[in-house]
Subunit: 77 residues, 2 copies
């Protein structure tokens, strides 16, 4: 079994309003060292076998919206 | 500037209904090698300085719900 982590995040040029809210809340809690926070999602897949092209196809078809989101694929040890 | 990634996921003992739906959808798209998918969230923090205890405090107070969620902290190179 292979564990694959797909990280999906909004493209950097887009305003991340949830991230903005988290940034402001952290500052409100006196965590002033935080400059910026951006929120994304993680999909952890447990797979029989790993094929990068097939995982990319999953991202393009279902896991991410390629118009507004970027994704990165990490195979966990 | 330090970039820190916080991964928040539901505790493994809890049913992840969104992940269940993704698993079923992937199978419907003939990605049969996927056994299981679980969904979490990622908070990417851009910080002036990194102190593990302070980031843990952020998680406990705001970023995660420690009753139902686990979190891991990764400092990105």
């Amino acid at each position: 079994m292979v564990t694959v982590r797909v990280l999906v995040s909004l493209k950097p040029s887009l305003l991340d309003s949830a991230g903005r809210t988290v940034t402001n809340s952290l500052k409100g809690l006196h965590f002033d060292e935080v400059h910026n926070a951006r929120i994304g999602k993680t999909i952890t897949l447990t797979m029989e076998s790993y094929d990068e092209d097939r995982v990319k196809a999953m991202c393009e078809k279902l896991l991410a919206n390629p118009v507004i989101e970027d994704y990165t694929i990490e195979v966990l040890p």
